[in-house]
Symmetry: D2
Subunit: 402 residues, 4 copies
């Protein structure tokens, strides 16, 4: 195989990807371009750019992808009420394909022949990155340093960093690992590995504990158009709307979950997540659906949520089956327009009202139009024909007993 | 068709079924036996028995079915994580087939030729009662007074009651209707018909509001064996365990939901429910599953929850498809044994620990056995083969573009 | 309710709908307009028009809907590989919503206030007609004479017809009932009610028996574009393509099925069908899919076929859930372009070749590009990670046994 | 890792596994025990035993597993109507887990520390073998020579064989590869790689072509008890029943399919199969189901067939999800008892009769019991309530337009 000439690295500015940056240059003796996605991780991007250059990057791309992230990844998942194994809203899963797609765009522009990422060999993220790379360019070369090098631990990395003049964080590492973006913060590993231990209160970044939330509830109204939230009080862009709900939700202690989940690579893993705005949005979205979505559409859609969520979690964002399910989901959202009213209080997010110009719930059906639309006596035929197969079966069994 | 000689009526002691009792006697000039199920509705069953007799019942059966209700209806739903349209735990839906089954047992014993119930012609309960009747005896005659008589309103009933000397409640009727049993209280109709209005705080019977719940959390541990809760601190019978969790959960403001749901008879309806113990149990059950259930079993099971729940909600408890799904569910629960630790606080019920002798989560897999069981380099082949179809597709499209 | 002034009747020219035409005029003393759909039933439409007028119709619409039928009903089902209970291709089910839709268009144009059909009260067709009527105009009045009048049998109809001067067929009625259109002929009832008896050879209209088919095979090639057949040898319109395949298939004894199926109204029913062209098309369509459709798309789609088919069979063509599933199906067909080669011989229709410019099957992947795209050693990691959860489970059980 | 001391090899007697036998001894300098499963592949097992010993095996196990194969693998698939991608009955997929399970039993008895098989690195069989090995003993060592050695082609193998005195077949290899057992023969590779070319007539082993089948049909009756075929004319053991149907079906040209299928490892592959008895059995089984299985059970089951079949095809026979689905399937088969009558003629296998003591189809329901069980007027209420949500939706849209 030909030697690699140029690599696009998904760079975060942390110790791991800094060591990777250097290691790629040393190992492949080639050019490495760093790509930093601004996903709302709330870090000093200028300093990260500087660090990449100092560590040896030939060029650094820093791109603000927050609006794209929310519009093209968060909202499609919201439309599908996506949730992995009943609890996890998949803030990390959604971000990976976006980063990988951006890397591939830069790879094309820069005529790079390889891409690299800093995900380990035991997690889901490596799959999410690499499936995206391959789906976009089937001939791209993929480098996953954690699966290739011999470093085993953080201290190996620190030794390498010191040797190559890469700045090492002065502060002690946190006793768990973190991933943060505009949608959520995730925590796993370290002290969280014991599934019987409650996470320490000091860990959380986006939310106060319910105990520390205000003693009075906050009421908000969220407006949806065709399945997408467009206003909270006033019209807001996708990223600003989400940021606003993160603030309101976080203040009221909303959106923490603590789960043991099944990784795609085959083992179970304990994760703790804070997703204040996302939690509020999914509750509100379901509330607007409850008055605008047809029953059969909803029940059929509900059977597809586990599969949709699996695709997101496993890393199949760019796949033909995802396109087909998304076509289904889009069709279901055409009339999901309306407003949900929510009460936020110390960790609780309760629907207390919903309304819509396209509402299929209408107390008037139950009153003046009743005679015409619903006749109680119709229920008899409805029940009798639905019972028919049960009765025939019971008759058949009776007959056999004789 | 032959004249009816004896009817078994599902009797609650309220105005409606009292009027029905009398009306059946008048209309069919036959014997009516009242059946009262003690489902934990917390009423004076002696008084109800008296009232039935005074109103004309030839006999009254009062049966304590609380343990049976929890063991044979609540727990099977818990094993399936049953929930209708993502929110409703179906406390009313589960109770109807039990009442109907008991009626049919009495009908057989008493050689009755008909059964009757007090459900209206617009709701789900009529379906749940009648599908059960027909599934058990395909030739039973079913009388549904609300679909037959000409009474339109409560005042019609009161007039009839007064005329026939049936005691009419002195107090004004509540501005909504209620159904209560050991598992939940439901509220619907009346002032709740406006889906934009928050329910009044005074309405709730089993739970305090989160605002009024204690300022300090309560921690509990629930032990499951093969998917069934057997102990909360100490071993308890099914009904006692549920009653205990209702008390603890209710005190902490847990288990209220407010939804617009789709009835089986075709229209949407707003319902408000309190299910403190049931809510806690489902969260705890999922937590124990999270460490004991295989991933593929869980994901497949999750696609069947909407169907299972639909069957319960629609009234198909006694149906062949229910038997088949239940066989599937039973198989999935064989290893769901373990303990969930929960923190209850002002409406929140959070998992803070889970453990099991059958745990599939084990941090040891990630350490000393790692070399043997999980090798990071395996991930490369895993990803590459999973990517293969995506790459072939992308290659095919590239080729077409040339 | 107001008196009915004008009814649009789905009219076939047979005894039943002729009696209905007259009965509607007599019963409702109103105007009745007959609508005759030319679905390729191969009858003398001029004579039918005459008969309607003679029987009392104020006006007759005869519309050739063959191209629309194939393009908008047959082909969408083909794209979905729709088949009810594994065998029935639903030629009758597809035709009913088209007839009903046309009736409603005429009802609007003619300002009619009611529609009527000739389907009995025990079958599926009444549901298919009426669900379509209601979905298009929720306030339309629907008249189903078979559920309303007192006639019980064919001889009742004949007596009524004689009394009102309606021509009665001179020939004895066939000992089964028939429905015919361009897609199929169906047979049910009468002598076919015994599911142990083989249908008489003389019954079949579109196909010869395999025994009487030619002794030499016929080879054909069918070209699909985006899931739709466009050419058999040469380009043909939808209806002409189907007619051509009916002829070729019928000549070779292809497309007979004999089933016991489950009606929507709750009982089982025996049906015999001939669908020569439709059978060929579905086999050819699957063959083109086999080389152009992604595996995961196909497997997911296959789980939705029973539901899609149920919707067609039950009569929910015009429903929101159908729209959502169809959006999914459309997305899956975008690359289903190619040619299937088939061998037709005495009832057999075998795929013997398939090719496509968008093929995902390419022996070249297995040869010169192999090194790059597929490496055998990748299989080890693939298998080991897929086995991981099975191994952890087995380890956990071993540990328990100790 | 420790040196391997004893290997159990799945041995067929062919060139590949003979070379593997020798190569394992040379490479691991350890004892190799050959296991030969008699699956009905119609070969000289004594000669195979001899060859294994001559090639260096320390011991040879030859086991007749035909009855076990049919009873524990073929029949469970039949109960589920398993079929991969709509066509392939999976005769190879079913056999692999049985062979692998037997290997593991011998490994335990012989205290072997490794198992090996002769499947290549590009196919499904490696996965089926190895998932079974790991599921049974998570710590077993697995050797897959085709993924390890450097041989690339048949001529490499022949050279190695000649060098080590392993007999090489005198006849030229067939231009495709074959797998044969009591259930089917499969063909793939070589000249079959071109999906546009019809397979050569001379290839087929179990069936004559339809052209060469008798000119008169054969009628047979198959009796099922609880989903399992027990008699064809007379009672037969599972393997004998299947062998008999293979003979009758093969003589009548039944059960050839020619497909392009999706392998689990990610690419498409062309396969040609003959499954005469299996094809007949599935058609007969569905026929008995058609009169004995409840509609809702059948429709739900049909949505699970693709998943069940995927599990078999991919190699997850011994997996917890398989156990759960099988529990479901078992429940559905409890009443599938009855007889199917079939007409076999030149490739066609048509149901011409079905009967059952547990039949849910009964023309009597349509006649004398009609009044009681089915009332035509019930259909009105049934349709009106099923239409309700469609009408409300149409009303809502009308209102919006105003």
């Amino acid at each position: 195989m030909d030697a690699i000439k140029k690599i696009i690295l998904a760079y975060s500015g942390g110790l791991d990807t800094s060591v990777i940056l250097r290691w790629l240059i040393e190992t492949y003796t080639c050019e490495v371009i760093a790509f930093v996605a601004d996903l709302g991780q709330d870090e000093d991007l200028k300093a990260i750019r500087e660090k990449a250059l100092k560590t040896g990057a030939s060029k650094v791309y820093v791109e603000d992808v927050r609006e794209e992230f929310v519009r093209d990844f968060v909202f499609p998942c919201l439309k599908a009420n996506a949730v992995y194994e009943g609890r996890y809203l998949m803030g990390t899963s959604m971000a990976r394909p976006l980063i990988a797609k951006k890397q591939m765009e830069i790879a094309k522009k820069e005529k790079a022949d390889a891409v690299a990422h800093g995900a380990t060999g035991k997690g889901n993220d490596q799959v999410r990155f690499e499936l995206t790379y391959y789906a976009i360019d089937p001939q791209i070369r993929v480098i996953s340093p954690w699966r290739e090098w011999d470093f085993k631990s953080r201290s190996d990395l620190i030794a390498y960093a010191r040797k190559h003049g890469i700045p090492v964080p002065a502060t002690k590492a946190k006793p768990y690992s973190i991933d943060r973006n505009l949608f959520h913060v995730s925590y796993e590993g370290g002290i969280l590995e014991d599934p019987w231990l409650e996470p320490p209160e000091g860990m959380f970044a986006l939310t106060v504990s319910p105990e520390k939330a205000p003693d009075r509830p906050t009421y908000i109204e969220i407006e949806f158009q065709q399945g997408i939230p467009v206003a909270v009080g006033k019209k807001l862009t996708p990223a600003k709307l989400l940021a606003h709900l993160n603030e309101v939700g976080g203040r009221n202690g909303i959106g923490r979950v603590d789960v043991v989940e099944n990784r795609y690579v085959g083992m179970k893993s304990r994760g703790v997540y804070e997703t204040p705005g996302g939690t509020i949005l999914q509750i509100a979205h379901r509330a607007v659906e409850s008055i605008t979505m047809d029953r059969e559409v909803m029940h059929l859609r509900d059977t597809l949520i586990p599969r949709f969520s699996e695709l997101v979690y496993y890393g199949y964002w760019y796949s033909p089956e995802m396109e087909a399910i998304r076509a289904f989901i889009e069709e279901t959202q055409k009339l999901v327009t309306g407003v949900a009213r929510l009460k936020l209080y110390k960790g609780n997010c309760d629907v207390v009202g919903r309304k819509s110009p396209a509402s299929l719930y209408d107390p008037r059906f139950a009153t003046f139009e009743a005679e015409e639309v619903y006749r109680q006596k119709d229920a008899e035929g409805f029940i009798r024909l639905n019972a028919l197969r049960l009765r025939i079966r019971a008759l058949s069994q009776k007959r056999k007993l004789k």
